[in-house]
Every structure is written in C-alpha cells, then in structure tokens.
Amino acid sequence: MSKAVRTAADEIWKNRVEKINVELFTLTYGSVVSQLCRDLNNNYCEVNKQLEIMGENIGVRLIEDFLARTGAGRCNSFKETGEIISKVGFKIFLNIVPQVTNWTDNGKQFSLVFDENPLAEFVELPDDGKAVKELWYSNVLCGVLKGALQMVQLDVDVSFVSDVLRGHDQTEIKLRLIRYLKDEIPAGED
C-alpha cells in the first residue's frame, strides 16, 4: 500500500490543502500555550489537560475533513492505522511524516517519532525548573489523535513519551489501542 498511499498524500498536500504561513501557525499555537500557562498560574499538569481537551475538540472534527479529502476506507488492522496516521494524516495537515516505530508484539501499541515539529519551532520552555518536567508543549497533538480515532471507533490512549524541548533526544508520542468501540444503538430503538 505504502507507495500509492504516499503519492496520494503528496498529491492532496500539493493541490487540495489550504496552506498558511508557518510562523503565523507556530506563533498562534505558541500564544495559546503561553496564555494557558499564565491563566492557570503555571500549573503545567492542568495546561497539559486543557491542551488535550482542545485537541480532542479539533480531532473529532478534523477526522471528517480527513476522510472527505482522502476518501480513505476502514483500516484492516491497527498497524495500517498507524501508517495512515503518519503518512497521510500528518502529511496533509502538517506536511511532516513521523516515523512509526516501537510496535509491541501484539500490535496494539506503537510510537510516532517526530524529526521535526512545526508547533515547537523557536520554543524554549520557561526555565522555572518545573516546565521541563511537567509541560508537554505539543500535547494538543495527543488530543487530536485521540479525538479523531475515537470517531472511527478506536479507543486509544495517546501520550507523550519524550520531547526535544525537554532536552530529550527525540520527540515521541505513544499510542496504545484500548479497544474497538462498538456502534451503539440508542436505547429504545430495535
């Protein structure tokens, strides 16, 4: 699948995506995060939580856009989901292709490793000694992934493992499949 998918994603990125200036994008996200930190008195755990909620709200909408643009069908396995997220999802929305690695044997958990992160350009975390331990600056991504996957019946736990902003070697997000959600029939309807 990979080659055809990749060229399709390239094509979508080139011709069917509205693009905005990267500095505008980065600075907009940056001011959201720094304002959150200020509003929440540098309670970074709470900031992480808020970012994730914001991301989820984006994700549940974004998946609709994603499906409409790509016409992608249902994935046959979680492995395929991982590939699609990286090579199509991230490609068409952020023009990056994170590596999909660290699969567990049961195929229910993998990591996305980011070589570049347009959200975190220019950023240095505040040096109050707390931010580098608590704040996941790009946590909105976790929310987006979680929200989007939830809408296609995948209950997934998404979290950051490491971030170059904190001085780690690489930026890594871990996705763990909890279960497939069943289509639920509203009560009272046979």
């Binding site: 980065t26 940056g30 720094s34 220019f122 950023v123 240095e124």
Partner: protein, 141 residues
C-alpha cells in the same frame, strides 16, 4: 582583547550582558578586564545611552558606529527597529566586524523574541543564547 556586550530594553532596563573575550591576536577567548573595569563596564554603557537616544533619530541605519569613548575604550551601538539597544564596549576600532556582529545578534534576538514564553524586556536567561553569542564573538570579534 576584551569586550563587554549589553542589550538594553525599551525601558532602559538591561536584558542581557556578557564579558566576551576574543580569539584573534593570540587571545584565548576569555575576557581580561581588570577588577576595576569589571565594575565600571555597566556604568560606561549606561552613561552612553543618552548619546544613543540623541543619535538614533538622526540616521536611518540601525548601526550607529562608535558613539562614545572612555579612556581608550570605545562604545559602539546598534538599535533594533523595536528600540532594543545593543551596546558593545571595545578597545580596538573594527567597524565592519562589529557591524556584522550586531546584525547577527539582531537575528539571534529575533529568534528569542519568537519564543512564546519570552516577552519584550524580559531578561534573556537562555543558555542557548549565551553560547550562540560566544560563537558570534569567535567569528567576528
């Protein structure tokens, strides 16, 4: 050869200062100010600020060249469009290199400013910034 470099914010507040040593002319990269000069440096720069404010409106260029001297030391200045002042105390006249140094520092300052956690007039505490300044010193001064 030793240099003293300071960045002054819009409210005449210092946001960054460093003593820089040269690698040229057999220097080993460490500043060699005498104990008295170390204490005097900030005062010399501070007293030159008035001259900068007079000169900055008289020219279109950001680089104001040597604006002041003090017993064999020169003070060069550069004012960014947002009125952040870069001041450099030096012993030798070396206009072209100092100009390049200022321009690159301006670039560096710009990147700092783009960091969402930094706001104008905050002191710059980033160690990254510090080491880049040292690199620029090595390259130009």
């Amino acid at each position: 050869m030793s240099y003293y470099f300071a960045m002054i914010g819009t409210r005449d507040n210092p946001i960054y200062e460093a003593e820089l040593g040269t690698f040229k002319q057999g220097g080993d990269g460490t500043p060699k100010f005498s104990a008295e000069m170390k204490e005097l440096n900030p005062f010399i720069i501070h007293s030159s600020l008035d001259i900068v404010e007079d000169l900055q409106w008289a020219t279109n260029s950001l680089y104001l060249k040597i604006i002041d001297n003090y017993y064999g030391y020169y003070v060069s200045a550069y004012v960014t469009p947002t009125n952040i002042k870069f001041m450099l105390l030096h012993e030798n006249k070396n206009e072209e290199n100092i100009k390049q140094f200022f321009i690159e520092v301006n670039d560096l300052y710009l990147k700092t400013l783009l960091n969402p956690f930094y706001s104008v007039n905050d002191p710059i505490k980033s160690t990254m910034f510090d080491s880049k300044i040292k690199l620029l010193t090595k390259k130009y001064l």
